[in-house]
């Protein structure tokens, strides 16, 4: 049996989302068509948009479906940047997801953007003082601020409200990357918008929906330049025939998120995941007392446990756990198939060697105590062997 502990990469689709998806794929009709079949498709699409909007505490008109979380982030950042021309400055914390990093770097290389990296502390929090100082240097030239809601590697929750409060006094739009937060902590766009957030990105496959659909939540008052031009669908922000079946499936997963975060449900799922996560943290501490838990120990995603193991490579641990039937991640971005030390840990001030000992264990809706048991059974031997392999591919003294 394979134990899946990489829910941050993608989480299993809900069975109901799979059946809704396959059923909806059998329905003929372009939602832009005028005839009855088109109207039926349109109805399915807009019902789905309403359900997704409800899970994000926003209005349906504010939900722009995209092909992925990455596309949503690109649309949020580039769209805001171009809409805010001629302003040039983009303020971004270090350690963001590559969807953000590479987008702002592209704008710096190909447009006139000036990217200013706001430092992180050793737990991965944005330095609010540095952000305030950066804004104050020339607030009129700031095109936007983009910040991740919960770090996808180390799980630290960012003080989004505080970031928005700094921006709102200068009418600077804030884009929030909520891809890794969505489904794990409440993502309340209404509350965030009140504080000053303009746009927010999510992805369906992180919550049990399908890969291939994401959404940019875009406040009514916010304008962005479209990246894709064509038939003018979705407020003319994102042209292209809309994927009804994917939206229907997304909506099934979104409704599960809404139910899970309802008053009636309380914090049951969050508490359950945090309980499993803490078992992982305690178990790792007893197997490898020198392993360091990365990120904020309290204000973190309930399903995220991220460690730096001393004296061994994350990829050795990953390989050995994989051989033992436990799927985890080194948490590092795998750019073009070439692993590289975690840029998040580097942004948090860790050495390259600490970054190379990184292992991310993430839990989700299918995770059970038995999964944690299996991990903790496999870990002692894997850790001992990975220690023996040590840093064979490292240069001593570096």
């Amino acid at each position: 049996m394979v134990v899946y502990l990489d829910h941050a990469a993608t989480t299993p689709m809900l069975p109901a989302a799979i059946s809704a998806y396959t059923e909806a794929m059998g329905v003929v009709g372009n939602p832009a068509s005028v005839h009855s079949q088109g109207q039926n498709a349109k109805r399915m699409l807009e019902e789905s948009r309403e359900i997704v909007a409800a899970s994000l505490y926003c209005d349906p008109i504010e939900v722009v479906f995209t092909g992925s979380g990455t596309e949503a982030i690109n649309l949020g950042i580039k769209g805001l940047y171009w809409a805010r021309a001629p302003r040039r400055r983009i303020l971004v914390p270090g350690g963001e997801h590559h969807a953000t990093l590479d987008t702002v770097e592209w704008l710096a290389q190909h447009e006139t953007a000036i990217v200013e990296w706001i430092p992180l502390d050793d737990q991965g929090h944005i330095d609010l003082g540095a952000l305030a100082a950066a804004i104050d240097r020339d607030p009129l030239d700031v095109a936007l601020i983009s910040v991740i809601m919960a770090n996808n590697e180390v799980g630290t929750l960012q003080p989004i409200i505080e970031v928005a409060a700094l921006a709102v006094t200068h009418d600077i739009p804030v884009h929030v990357d909520a891809v890794s937060a969505y489904g794990y902590i409440p993502v309340n766009f209404r509350a965030l918008a009140t504080a000053g957030v303009s746009a927010l990105s999510v992805s369906a496959h992180k919550i049990g929906g399908p890969v291939g659909i994401g959404a940019l939540v875009l406040g009514r008052a916010t304008t962005v330049e479209p990246l894709i031009h064509g038939g003018g669908q979705q407020r003319k922000v994102r042209s292209g025939t809309q994927d009804v079946a994917a939206a229907v499936s997304f909506a099934v997963a979104a409704s599960a998120v809404t139910a899970q975060q309802s008053v009636a449900a309380g914090d049951a799922e969050t508490t359950r995941l945090a309980g499993l996560r803490d078992r992982v943290i305690d178990g790792v501490a007893s197997v490898a007392p020198t392993a360091v838990l990365n990120g904020d120990p309290e204000r973190r995603l309930p399903g995220n446990a991220h460690f730096s193991f001393a004296g061994c490579e994350g990829d050795s641990l990953l390989f050995l756990l994989d051989a033992a039937g436990v799927s985890v991640s080194t948490g590092s971005a795998c750019q073009a198939g070439v692993p590289e030390p975690s840029h998040v840990l580097r942004a948090m001030g860790r050495s390259e060697i600490e970054s190379r000992g990184a292992l991310r264990i993430t839990l989700g809706h299918t995770s059970t105590d038995a999964d944690v048991d299996a991990l903790l059974r496999a870990l002692p031997a894997a850790h001992a062997q990975a220690l023996r392999a040590g840093m064979a591919d490292r240069v001593p003294g570096h």
Binding site: G337, A389, D393, V395
Partner: protein, 457 residues
């Protein structure tokens, strides 16, 4: 079926005297399901094999053969560069995005797990930086050899063993055979044209015991390609790589020029007279004829060749072709591939090969106390080869090789691989040569202590 130079023993199975040897040797060890063990139980044990997969056709077929031999195989692609570059057609370099995908697709077809391991830092230090430093020191290194010595059969093998593997499998064309006493020997591959035993000459007995070369017995590359096509590998027709992998455009001189500060210097004759100017000594290699741009012709009107590169004084020494003839080579940095000779201090017959595709030349070799060690002649090697501490050689002792006929185009830094028949006996990095044609002034040798100052990287 094979075109060995006459005189290689043990290769003609029709000779009764050789038949016993042949029968033993035909047991390519990779077919035997054990490593470094004896006893019948070991034969029942599956070997855990790490197949190093570059994304090329050879390593893919090698891995597939290891799978078919019944071993438990895991494919690993080494990420050797942090900047994998653009999508290039063919196999112009290592670890492009396409190479990694090609390797993974072959692993998928074999149904084996596949991982990418990051060796980029070690590769940079042990291979790329070493390459630059060697050139800066006026020597001609072989980076593929250094990669085998430091990465594939050292760092990777060590990690593999520690992670529970028994052996590393590669697509090199070479054979590991077992002698009558059960010792592993490294031999040439069946096909002369593809033989890669030279670049494996740096392997030690322990490394050979944990290596696997399933392509060693394959008569032709065409057969490997046909087999790849039959197996459905997309890389079946992928072009071979010939370049140095980290210099993808093949412009070694230009690449080095960006990394080693070029400076104009003098071109001298053997007597020390200045003949002209060059724009950076590092770009020259011993034996080179073109690109000297000397204004005045030689007195005898004959072409002149690079005889020596002196990085510290930034000078290049040129002379007639005859002066390139080398009658003796030696290196203090030597290793034995497998069982060492019982009496290496006693002169023995062998063949010596000084480049990957050079012909082997009959020679005699001997381990001797270096008579040159107190002179300046070997200082450069001692200084910059401090990283080669794993070599078994003792300071002041060198492997001396005297070819029956003088060799041409030998440069310090090259590796001399010593063969007995088809077997690789050992190797040394050449740090001393003796010209067959004495000149009026002895070629000077330079300590390399200040060399790093000229290196940008």
């Amino acid at each position: 079926m094979q075109a060995w130079p006459i005189g290689y023993p043990g290769t003609d199975a029709s000779e009764p005297a050789n038949r016993a040897v042949w029968l033993v040797r035909r047991h390519e060890w990779f077919l035997l399901p054990h490593v470094g063990r004896s006893g019948a139980d070991a034969y029942n044990r599956r070997v855990k094999v790490l197949a190093a997969m570059s994304g090329g056709v050879d390593s893919a077929v090698a891995a597939a053969r290891a799978v078919e031999a019944g071993h438990e195989v895991v494919g690993v692609h080494l990420a050797l560069s942090r900047m994998p570059g653009t999508l290039r057609t063919g196999s112009r370099g290592c670890c492009t995005v396409e190479d990694s995908m090609d390797a993974q697709r072959a692993a998928n077809i074999m149904g084996i797990p596949y991982y990418v391991w990051d060796f980029s830092e070690r590769f940079k230090l042990d291979v790329v930086d070493d390459f630059i430093a060697e050139y800066a020191a006026g020597r001609t290194p072989n980076p593929c050899m250094r990669c085998n010595e430091k990465i594939k059969f050292a760092a990777l093998l060590e990690k593999a063993i520690a992670l529970g593997f028994d052996a590393v499998c590669t697509g090199h064309y070479a054979s590991i055979l077992t002698d009558a006493d059960g010792n592993k020997e490294l031999h040439r591959s069946a096909e002369w044209a593809k033989d890669q035993s030279y670049v494996l000459g740096v392997l030690t007995a322990d490394q050979i015991n944990h290596s696997m070369f399933p392509l060693g017995a394959t008569p032709t590359k065409a057969e490997v390609r046909a087999e790849a096509a039959e197996r459905g590998f997309s890389v079946a027709n992928k072009p071979d790589s010939y370049d140095i992998c980290f210099i993808p455009d093949g412009d070694t001189k230009g690449w080095l020029g960006e990394r080693v500060a070029p400076a104009t210097g003098d071109i001298l004759d053997r007597e020390g007279n200045t003949l002209g100017q060059h724009d950076g000594a590092v770009a020259f290699t011993v034996g080179q004829r073109k690109g000297l741009s000397i204004g005045t012709p030689a007195a005898d009107g004959k072409p002149r060749f690079v005889l020596e590169v002196r990085p510290i004084t930034n000078t290049v020494v040129v002379g007639p072709k005859e002066a390139l003839a080398i009658k003796e080579i030696a290196g203090t940095s030597y290793t034995w591939a497998g069982v060492a000779p019982e009496h290496p201090e006693v002169e023995f017959d062998c063949h010596v090969q000084i480049r990957a595709h050079a012909d082997p030349v009959p020679a005699v070799a001997q381990v001797v106390v270096s008579t040159m060690v107190s002179t300046s002649s070997t200082h450069a090697t001692h200084a910059t080869h401090a990283t080669h501490a794993t070599h078994a050689s003792d300071a002041g002792v060198e492997l001396r090789i005297i070819p029956n006929e003088p060799l041409a185009g030998v440069a310090p830094g090259q590796t001399a691989v010593v063969y007995v028949g088809t077997r690789v006996l050992g190797q040394c990095t050449i740090d001393r040569t003796v010209s067959a044609v004495p000149s009026s002034s002895t070629p000077s040798e330079i300590p390399a202590s200040a060399i790093s100052a000229t290196v940008n990287a």
